[in-house]
Symmetry: C2
Subunit: 119 residues, 2 copies
Amino acid sequence: MAPDPRLAATPEPPYWVVLFTSRRTPADPEGYEKMGEAMAELAAKQPGYLGIESTRDAEGVGITLSYWASEQAIHDWKRVSAHTEAQRRGHAGWYEDFVLRVAKVERAYTKATSPRAGL
Amino acid sequence: MAPDPRLAATPEPPYWVVLFTSRRTPADPEGYEKMGEAMAELAAKQPGYLGIESTRDAEGVGITLSYWASEQAIHDWKRVSAHTEAQRRGHAGWYEDFVLRVAKVERAYTKATSPRAGL
């Protein structure tokens, strides 16, 4: 089976993840989408970037998971100037609400490597 | 602003998170939805449960984040028998593909607590 391009092919743990859960305002869908694509492209060029998974439902609730080799890589990405500007616009108008969490991934399984019929 | 019910009101870190990213098959939407609701209700009764965030887009790609007070709580929830059966059915027919990761949350910010205009 070909790998699903929407699921990140991350290496063996440990690695880091930024969990961003948000609800969009109805404002500026085109500007938001364009910025999202630009940020995904820019993130992929950052040192320590391992992959991204993102989805948003019809109610405007979305989760984006970005995977990183180290805490330092997350720290550096947060401070990239184009990203800082995207954060500012997100805070000011695009997001009704959000939670951002930083976590260290300790274990991982895929459907293929799952040790038994259950997860 | 009233808290958004789709965003989990988790305590101060550290705590744990199970990240489940999946793509659904077109199979059995009613059975899947019913099981999802039953599992969310059952998880909420488990010791150490802190909250859940979940979203799925029109392409069938979804992310579910469940938050837990400890690794032991995750371990125990994985082995609850109704949940084991749900895992078996997910593996057998509901999911085209999935990745499950277990991570320790080290830091968290909300829109309200975000230290500056950027995240």
